[in-house]
Amino acid sequence: MSFELLGEAIVAGVLLGCFYAAVSVGLSVAFGLLDVPQIAHPAFLVLGAYGAYWLGGFGLDPLLAGVLLTPVFFLAGLAVYRFYHATFERRGTDAGLRGLAFFFGVAFIVEVMLILSFGVDQRMVEAAYIGKSIAVGDLRLPLRMLVAFGVALILTIGLSLYLSGTFTGRAIKAVAQDQTALALMGADPVRVKQWAFGIATGTCALAGALLIIVAPVEPGLGRLYIGRTFCVAVLAGLGSMPGTLVAGIILGIAESIVLTSLGASWAPAVAFGLLLLVLAVRPAGLFGR
């Protein structure tokens, strides 16, 4: 591959990677910090994407739709966690298996409901920034990727600042490390975790909107994003927000290079392959706690 082609692939990869980071931050919180086997996270992303599509039918810009749906998803997250905690986290022996099977079932149901509601065909949205590109030097950068890049940065950095800057945010990081200590300080660990899970689910609204901005979606997309989101969350080091950004970019660049050199049919395997590699070599990830 020529140097120029490689350079283009890397730039595209960085943009793509920030997008991957945005769709993975929710998982970094839910799975990385809270240890919830949230295998339905990508399904919620796709749900958010279809939410943006549906609101787009009323003329709403997808980003606006994402923002509007965030509180809805947040509340849903609160409810899901409450239920999950009551049913699985407190029980005995095979709660782990059942919790995992539960989220798998939920992801599955979401996918089928989307098929029944919207059909299996791809759906997309329209916006002023979709379909155009701008020229930066010799490169042509798709505007929608730049928009996704920008929103992704805001989302990841915003969440990172929230977790380290606010009291609730720090409580969330604390509960990940030592529940008992947090309880002794007067905060209810379950409420803190519930709030965190709400935030994690809330991100799926906006991140889902990014999903449909970047490319058309179809109900089965969730399965592909299991690989991408878990790859980023694990490579980051569970629970690290800065790590999520770095890991996302690494994945984005890797996928971009494979796309350019081997073609689109091999791209889905990159995330999974990278994930397996990380699990085999350094499961604690880059910034692991």
């Binding site: 799975f31 086997p37 295998i39 049913t87 022996t93 095979d94 782990g96 298996l97 059942r98 995992l100 099977a101 539960f102 798998f104 079932g105 939920v106 599955f108 149901i109 089928v112 409901m113 098929i115 029944l116 089965g220 399965r223 592909l224 299991i226 690989g227 878990f230 694990v234 049919s265 091999w266 889905p268 395997a269 999974f272 392959g273 994930l275 397996l276 699990l279 085999a280 499961p283």
Partner: protein
């Protein structure tokens, strides 16, 4: 106390029944549907060896199933290999896959193994899509040979074969369950660190379960190309296999070999009916809803409910 005599008798009776059915039932569709149900018995039993006994959840059963199917296709295309060789090779390939995934991830927490199975499923599907020799995305046709004298059609032969495989799978599962291996797996499922501290070689046992589980899934898939006379990636790697392999044992009951059988027979039959009368999406939705419902409300499955009602303490 594990008594084998009634069990062996039951197995022989089941096989004899299968042969008799193949001889006397005239409705061909019965064998098409029956094959699918028997196939699910093997798949569900295979899943349960690792999922139910050891507690490690495989989300990618479709990959192991399809690996078996595609190994069979490769052998047919390349060597015109007989069915038994196909089955043996499928067991080897899928067993190795199970071992490899296990070796990579069974040292880590359970969820990483589960995600790795999804990874394997996607990677396998991608590889097969790009492998022209076995048909790639377009698929490949497979000719059914002439049925031997005893059978009216080749499908009936496959039906009886799958009945035999189902019996063998259940025998293996029961043996594992009632032996020291099963107790070690149960200890691992209950508390892995404690099991290790009292001398259970947890990694070795988990690897064994993963390999056995994978091999059985491959065996379930090996006759599939002949059964369909055709194979293509989308149906071979269908998510339905992954969900069914998981839902059937959980709904039937994961503690014992009987659970997957119950789940497979019940759900497999229901699936056949719903797919034909309603739609395949609805079928899959019902499966998902039932799975979630049982996981929440009846974690021990139908078997557990039955035992509770019958007042037994759970003897084997």
């Amino acid at each position: 106390m594990a008594r084998w005599t009634p069990f062996i008798v039951g197995a022989v009776v089941a096989l004899a029944a299968a042969l008799l059915l193949a001889r006397f039932v005239s409705n061909e569709y019965f064998f098409f549907a029956g094959y699918v149900v028997l196939q699910f018995i093997v798949l569900a039993t295979a899943w349960n060896i690792l999922g139910g006994y050891a507690g490690y959840v495989n989300f990618g059963s479709g990959a192991f199933f399809a690996a078996g199917a595609y190994t069979a296709v490769a052998l047919i295309k390349g060597f015109a290999a007989p069915l038994l060789v196909q089955i043996a090779a499928a067991a080897l390939v899928s067993g190795l896959m199970g071992f490899a995934v296990g070796a990579m991830t069974l040292r880590l927490r359970g969820i990483f193994f589960s995600i790795a199975t999804v990874a394997v499923a996607v990677i396998c599907e991608t590889v097969v899509f790009n492998w022209g020799f076995v048909g790639g995305a377009r698929g490949a046709t497979v000719l059914q040979p002439e049925a031997p004298a005893l059978f009216a059609s080749y499908t009936r032969l496959l039906f009886v074969l799958m009945a035999l495989l189902a019996v063998l799978a259940v025998v293996l599962a029961r043996y594992i369950e009632t032996s020291w291996i099963g107790r070690g797996l149960q200890a691992i499922r209950d508390n892995e660190e404690a099991a290790e501290s009292v001398g259970v070689p947890t990694l070795k046992l988990k690897l064994f379960a993963a390999t056995a589980s994978g091999a059985l899934m491959g065996i379930a898939g090996a006759p599939f190309p002949l059964y369909m006379s055709f194979i293509e990636p989308t149906s071979a790697f269908s998510l339905n296999y992954a969900v069914s392999a998981l839902a059937m044992p959980i709904i039937g009951g994961t503690a014992s070999w009987a659970g997957p059988v119950i789940g497979a027979v019940l759900l497999g039959s229901v699936q056949q009916i719903v797919t034909v009368t309603l739609s395949s999406e609805l079928n899959v939705l019902v499966l998902g809803v039932l799975l979630v419902a049982f996981v929440i409300a009846a974690p021990e499955g139908i078997l557990g409910l039955y035992r509770r009602v019958a007042g037994k303490a759970g003897s084997k």
